[in-house]
């Protein structure tokens, strides 16, 4: 599904973020990417999202080179990828319902589909009662659940979660990981970056460990090992 082919990335200030990185992520996999700050985790995520282009090599999504996508193709591609961020990135002036509806509207879904799917997905993350709240009226864990609901509402092929538990307490962290595992069990590929050893160990699935822009370990059913 995702294929990194000898990808290197050097930023304008000569910082080498990735150094000839190659790996494949298969459909329905749950992959955790771990590593210290500056190890290259975020650069990998940005490349999958099309926010950054490789300096060398290529990143493929189902045999399509993401770096070569034109603007409108990129828009279509992003509709197939759900994203969850550490800082939630909800739209502050929209209610919980409207935040999720926005992602559906952006994909050209009809009003009928939106009014059917948004309550359903809010039920999955247990936020039905808060659908008319604004983001500032929610706790960190609730915000992250809204972000996950927004990411899954269009039934994407892949969910990318960049440090989704970084700002959360242990209980909320557990909830979020359980939701991500459930999403993966239902057949969606999940790519997770994290610093949290407990999270990685509790998932018990593939772990890619990054060090200095290179892959240090790639363990099937791995553990957090830095």
């Amino acid at each position: 599904m995702i294929y990194f082919d000898k990808v290197s990335k050097t930023y304008q200030n000569d910082t080498k973020a990735l150094d000839s990185v190659s790996f494949t992520i298969k459909p329905k996999e749950f992959v955790s990417i771990v590593g210290h700050s500056g190890a290259g985790k975020t650069t990998i995520i940005k490349m999958i999202l099309g926010e950054e282009k490789p300096s060398n090599g290529a990143v493929y999504f189902e045999s399509v080179n993401i770096g070569g996508l034109r603007k409108n193709e990129m828009t279509d591609y992003r509709r197939r990828v759900g994203t969850v961020f550490q800082d939630f990135r909800l739209l502050p002036n929209l209610t919980v319902y409207e935040n999720i509806a926005f992602a559906m509207e952006a994909c050209g879904r009809t009003d009928e589909e939106i009014s059917a799917d948004v309550p359903h997905v809010l039920g999955l993350v247990d936020l039905t009662k808060k659908m008319m709240n604004f983001p500032h009226q929610l706790s960190g864990g609730e915000k992250q659940r809204v972000a996950i609901a927004r990411a899954i509402v269009n039934q994407p092929d892949i969910i990318i979660a960049d440090e989704p538990t970084g700002n959360l307490d242990p209980v909320s962290t557990y909830d979020i990981i359980q939701i991500l595992k459930k999403i993966n069990d239902l057949g969606t590929t999940v790519i997770l970056t994290t610093h949290n050893k407990g999270v990685v160990d509790s998932i018990g699935k593939r772990v890619i460990t990054m060090e200095g822009g290179k892959i240090a370990r790639d363990d099937k059913d791995g553990k957090f090992a830095i």
Binding site: L49, E51, K71, N72, T75, D76, R78, R79, T83, R89, L90, L91, P92, N93, L94, E98, F102, A103, E105, A106, C107, G108, T110, D111, R150, N154
Partner: protein, 306 residues
């Protein structure tokens, strides 16, 4: 789908405007100030033109005719002058009228009136008062009249007072042209400043929403779908600011109206504002919508690069 998308863009724009309370209020207030400047410039231009027209109307050429000139000869000459393209109006004053005016002017001057009585007959000839469409055209009209006098030995023209007023008319023409140019330059200068201030305010509101724009991009929203609501909000800033500026101009012009009349502009600013409120409001609305929409469109573009 297109209709649904347009509906969603407008709804989202209205929501942005309404829910971004303080940001919208700031943008609207600054645009209101900018539009007040534009509205004031429109009114100032109207006052300037009215004042210049008043002055222009006071300038004329007087052609004094010989006392022996017959009425039909005078009317023929009047018709000939009126046919000149530069001439806007010719007023005929008969010998009797000239005498009556002379007596009125010198009603406190016993000696002059006595001398006039002693002459017995009316010594004054009739006159034609000529107004040009533009003060710069008096020279041409004067030349035409001088030629008439020179070419025809039996011409009824006795004297033309242009040469006496030539320097004053030339100076006035220069002052009027300079006033118009300066007025326009000042208006353009302030309009550009007003535009830049509004533009930067809207850019600032969009800068504050840059994270929002990147999130919209990442959830797969198209460029048009992201830009649209911001442009709608920009249009709303313009429309609301125009309404506020028009309302604020009411008490301002009401207060200034009598003063502008006293200054000899010939215009009560309040009456002028009320009678031309549609055209003034229209121009302000177009400016407001243009500034609002264009600023938003450009400002969003910067954050859509990802």
């Amino acid at each position: 789908m297109l209709r649904t998308n347009i509906k969603r863009v407008f709804k989202s724009g209205f929501l942005n405007f309404w829910r971004n309370g303080s940001v919208s209020v700031t943008a609207v207030l600054i645009m209101t100030m900018a539009l007040l400047v534009i509205g004031s410039l429109l009114l100032t231009q109207a006052l300037l033109h009215s004042t210049l027209d008043q002055i222009k109307n006071k300038v004329d050429i007087n052609v004094y005719l010989v006392t022996s000139a017959e009425e039909d000869e005078i009317l023929a000459l009047k018709k000939q002058i009126e046919s000149q393209p530069e001439v806007s109006e010719v007023t005929y004053s008969s010998r009797e009228q000239e005498l009556a005016d002379f007596k009125t002017r010198h009603e406190n001057d016993e000696l002059t009136l006595q001398a006039l009585d002693e002459i017995g007959d009316n010594p004054l000839g009739a006159s034609l008062e000529i107004k040009a469409k533009d003060p710069s055209q008096y020279e041409g009209i004067s030349t035409f009249l001088e030629n008439q006098k020179k070419e025809n030995s039996e011409s009824i023209i006795d004297k033309i007072n242009y040469s006496r007023n030539k320097a004053a008319i030339a100076a006035l023409t220069k002052i009027m042209d300079a006033s118009r140019t300066l007025g326009l330059a000042v208006a353009i200068f302030f309009a550009v400043i007003a535009f830049l201030i509004s533009f930067n305010t809207i850019r600032l509101t969009i800068y504050m929403a840059r994270e929002e724009i990147s999130v919209k991009r990442l959830v797969g929203a198209s460029t048009r779908y992201i830009k649209g609501p911001f442009v709608v909000s920009g249009l709303m800033y313009g429309a609301v600011a125009t309404l506020l500026a028009l309302l604020l101009l009411l008490p301002i012009t009401y207060w200034a109206g009598p003063h502008t009349l006293d200054l000899g502009t010939g215009v009560n600013l309040f009456s002028y504002y009320l009678s031309d409120i549609l055209s003034i409001g229209g121009m302000m609305l177009i400016s407001g919508l243009f500034i609002g929409a264009l600023s938003s469109y450009w400002a969003v573009k910067k954050y859509l690069k990802i």
